[in-house]
């Protein structure tokens, strides 16, 4: 008889103990932040309850929720028509607009906020320009609406990228069927297209909502108090650890609730089961809506892309004329690149054992719990992870305010991005390939080295690139955990714009945008992909989930 209980030998061979240990280690570290928060709060439970139950806390929570919902709704209102117009209609210049529309992804929300304040704020560029005309007051950019607009403007690409593949994979026969039953375009859109887009809309919306919840830079510059901002101020100003931890717990619970809601909304319904007719949906002529539609897309791109680029360029020139020191940005850039590269490599390596377990050993009883745990950082806002690590770091002495701890925070936050990409790649590499290699005389670790890793390498690389890009832009965890004297580009941009030294912020901001989009450009494209950005959509967390991945695997099977 076998040495293992039957349940473990079921279906596939046992995972090797080394693999399981590695994955368990990753899961244990992922569990650190939430566990530490709970432990921290249970030290002074009465005080924590008092903080959480305060009416001001409830109001703050409500305001945060409202802000996240409004930003998500607005981002949907921008992304849905834009995705449809650039993919399915005869919009003039749609090929170029398709690329331009996704580009604001490279602009961090705090750079967007800085641009908005300097251009549209009091004594901003717009007001200066309008002053001769007698306009001395513009509607305030600060507060709820300003924050909502800026957030939506710089996060809608997440939705655009998740909606795009969904729109392209729609089965045109269903639309024809609906039209054949006598329903018009609008009814067909509402009854046939929209329901099919729902999963993409929800998973993209989830990304925007989580972004809004965890955003620190933009809400700070736009002076709008959300939970994240209040956590930071109460941590910095009063060193009141318990109230900071209590707010963090509330924020973590909200984020987890939103993720749960999204998973639940996906439910058991399947959208991928029936394959399309294998042809592209026809282009819809816009007719007299052509120019209004183009105007809409142009306005979005003007605000989300042209304005930031123009304003940054303006301040850069102004700064250089005024003799602003550009040199100092290079060391910050070096720090950013170093920390991001370390985080990218560490995340890719940490993701591999978890992804192998999840894809190759699905029936191993620990695989699923480990995978779920590794997604913890996906839901937790950066400020929460940072606080937990601060609390933990004080106990672990030497790690506190070290580069190691900063990188650890990045890995915790962005591991799911590396996971998603690696998972998809592993799903494409069918298990029979690994068995074929074993049958041809290779030992399990040789199979890993010659088949599994090479096949997953493109996905691992893509995942690492994505982690790099996200880490470059990360602000809240960086602000709290950076080693003394270790200044990154993100911090420099934020600090300078907080003091309204826009000329000083311009160069690092531009450098940040260029450096973080570099890995995307360098990334080799898989065969058959048109754009790096459309591929990126697949790598975003939530996109590496089985249905889409299975579809990719199926495509790969067709191709081989």
């Amino acid at each position: 008889m076998t040495a293992f209980p039957r349940a473990l030998t079921a279906r596939r061979r046992m995972p090797s103990p080394v693999l399981v240990l590695a994955a368990l280690a990753v899961a244990a570290v992922s569990l650190l932040p939430p566990v530490y928060l709970v432990v921290r709060i249970s030290d002074a439970p009465a005080r924590a309850i008092e903080v959480i139950a305060r009416s001001s806390t409830l109001e703050l929570t409500w305001r945060t929720l409202l802000f996240a919902s409004a930003a998500t709704a607005l981002a949907m209102a921008i992304a849905l028509p834009m995705a449809w117009l650039t993919e399915r209609s005869d919009l003039p210049g749609r090929r170029v607009l398709r690329i331009l529309g996704a580009m604001p992804l490279a602009i961090p929300s705090y750079v967007g906020a800085m641009v908005a304040v300097s251009a549209l704020g009091p004594r901003g560029l717009l007001q200066q320009a309008l002053e001769p005309l007698g306009v001395d007051r513009l509607p305030s950019i600060y507060g709820f609406w300003g924050a909502t607009f800026v957030l939506a403007l710089f996060t809608y690409p997440y939705l655009l990228l998740t909606l795009r593949p969904a729109l392209l994979s729609l089965d045109p026969r269903l639309e024809e069927l609906s039209r054949g039953f006598g329903y018009g375009r609008w009814t067909t859109f509402g009854r046939v297209i929209l329901p099919q887009l729902r999963p993409a809309l929800f998973s993209g919306g989830l990304l925007v909502a989580l972004y809004a919840l965890s955003d620190f830079g933009a809400v700070s510059l736009l002076r709008f108090d959300t939970l994240t901002r209040v956590i930071y101020t109460s941590y910095r100003s009063s060193f009141d650890r318990t109230s900071a931890a209590s707010f963090a717990l509330v924020l973590a619970v909200i984020a987890l609730a939103i993720v749960t809601l999204e998973v639940w909304s996906r439910g058991r319904r399947r959208y991928d089961a029936i394959r399309g007719a294998g042809r592209q949906a026809p282009v819809v002529p816009l007719g007299r809506w052509r120019w209004p539609a183009l105007a809409f897309v142009a306005v979005v791109i003007a605000f989300a892309l042209v304005m930031p680029a123009g304003v940054l360029a303006y301040w850069l020139v102004r700064g250089m004329q005024a003799g602003e020191v550009v040199r100092a940005a290079w060391s910050a850039a070096g720090n950013s690149v170093l920390a991001s590269a370390l985080a990218a490599v560490a995340a890719a390596v940490a993701a591999l054992p978890v992804a192998i377990l999840a894809v190759r050993h699905r029936d191993f009883p620990l695989s699923r719990p480990i995978e779920v745990l590794s997604y913890t950082g996906y839901a937790l806002p950066g400020i929460v992870v940072a606080l937990a690590l601060v609390f933990a770091g004080i106990n672990f002495g030497p790690l506190y305010q070290s580069l190691t701890m900063l990188v650890l925070a990045y890995v915790l936050l962005f591991l799911p991005q590396a996971m998603g990409a690696t998972r998809v790649a592993l799903l494409q590499a069918r298990p029979s390939m690994e068995e074929a290699a074993r049958g041809l005389g290779r030992r399990p670790w040789q199979v890993l080295a010659t088949i599994t890793v090479p096949l997953a390498s493109r996905g691992m690389l893509a995942g690492a690139a994505l982690v790099f890009l996200t880490t470059m832009k990360e602000l809240p965890a960086t602000v709290i955990l950076h080693p003394t004297g270790f200044e990154t580009l993100a911090m420099r941009v934020f600090d300078a714009s907080r003091e309204a030294f826009f000329a000083r912020a311009a160069f690092p901001a531009l450098l940040l945008i260029v450096l973080s989009s570099l890995p995307l450009a360098l990334m080799q494209l898989p065969p058959g992909t048109r754009l790096p950005l459309s591929w990126l959509a697949r790598l975003l967390p939530g996109q590496g989930t089985p249905p889409r991945a299975a579809e990719r695997a199926e495509e790969a099977t067709d191709a081989v």
Binding site: A436, R438, G441
Partner: protein, 342 residues
């Protein structure tokens, strides 16, 4: 320790996944150089049996020898990489990041002989011109030959093929089948292939193992398995069969075609009549033709006999019969009778 000339000896191999028993009893002996087909309906455990032979699954009990090496028994298990077994997967499992030649070379140790062996395997499978190609550029039939070349290159002692023709379209299948048999025979390798297609099994295998519900119910030459099925399952699955379920008394069963011997200890039997064992016989059992399928090389008649029994009879293409009308049938040979009690 085992006799020469035996490539595979499996004794009572059993494996369960959770509470599902996939293979109940895999017992068979494959002679060296033979091409054996494991045949059975889907879910009968034939692919799992193949994976047991390859070492991708570890049996819960039973013993397995490949040539004179014991590779599985209680407490002993030789992993797939040390079995010297070549495998061709249903989906071919070609490595997409390698060329055709690199795929074929994968199982070979580095050395002078490697190049030569790759070339030999490519020539054997008719792929000599395609070595530098990427596997993405090949047709289905070519991919299959690459998988075969890759499996054969290390000169395996045993070649395993899992539904090797199921991904090919029908027109291609018969030709590729003959090609593969030819290649395997020229390589001189013992081979076991798994299929649910009886025509495939009967036409290319030296021996056929019929599997049902995780058990090898019969193992023999194609004509043995077809003409003397050991069980009702195999009679029904392999080939076309009229099955008449009738009561038996004292070792006899009465059929419209006469009385035949039945097992002594049963009350009910299944009488199996192959359609081609029925013939048009003036003065035989009278009936009505109810429909007719004309195939060219022969035709199949649906006939309702006097007592209401319906049978299918395969007759020559020259019988001039309408799609309806009277007919009388007789038997060419005695039917098979299986007891069906309990």
């Amino acid at each position: 320790m085992r006799s020469d000339g035996v490539a595979v000896r499996a004794e009572g191999l059993r494996i369960a996944f959770g509470s599902t028993v996939a293979v109940e009893d895999l017992t068979l002996e494959v002679a060296e150089g033979d091409l054996v087909a494991l045949l059975g309906p889907s879910g009968c455990g034939k692919t799992t049996s193949l994976r047991l032979l390859a070492g991708f699954e570890r049996p819960d009990s039973g013993q397995l020898w490949l040539h004179d090496q014991q590779v599985a028994s209680d407490g002993q298990f030789v992993p797939p990489e040390r079995r010297g077994v070549g495998m061709v997967f249903q989906d071919y499992a070609l490595f997409p990041h390698m060329s055709v030649a690199q795929n074929v070379a994968f199982g070979l140790r580095r050395g002078d002989e490697r190049e030569t062996r790759v070339r030999e395997a490519l020539v054997l499978t008719g792929l000599a011109a395609l070595g530098r190609r990427s596997v993405h550029e090949l047709s289905g039939g070519e991919q299959q030959r690459v998988a075969l070349a890759r499996a054969l290159a290390p000169r395996p002692r045993l070649l395993l093929l899992d539904e090797p023709f199921s991904n090919l379209d029908l027109a291609l299948r018969a030709r590729v089948r003959a090609e593969v048999r030819d290649i395997v025979k020229r390589a001189g390798t013992t081979a076991v292939l798994v299929t649910h297609d009886q025509e495939e099994a009967l036409s290319i295998a030296d021996r056929v193992g019929f599997m049902w519900a995780g058990v090898v119910e019969q193992f023999g030459t194609p004509d043995e398995v077809y003409t003397h099925p050991a069980t009702l399952h195999s009679a029904e699955f392999i080939g076309d069969a009229n099955v008449l379920r009738l009561p038996a008394r004292e070792g006899r069963v009465e059929t419209p075609f006469g009385t035949f011997a039945a097992p002594l200890d049963v009350d009910s039997v299944a009488v199996v009549l192959r359609p081609e064992d029925l013939q048009v016989l003036p003065g035989g059992v009278a009936g009505e033709v109810t429909h007719r399928e004309y195939y060219g090389h022969d035709q199949v008649l649906g006939v309702r006999l006097r007592d209401g029994t319906t049978v299918r009879a395969r007759v020559g293409p020259h019988e001039r019969l309408g799609a309806a009308g009277p007919i009388s049938l007789g038997l060419r040979r005695a039917p098979l009778v299986f007891g069906t009690d309990g």
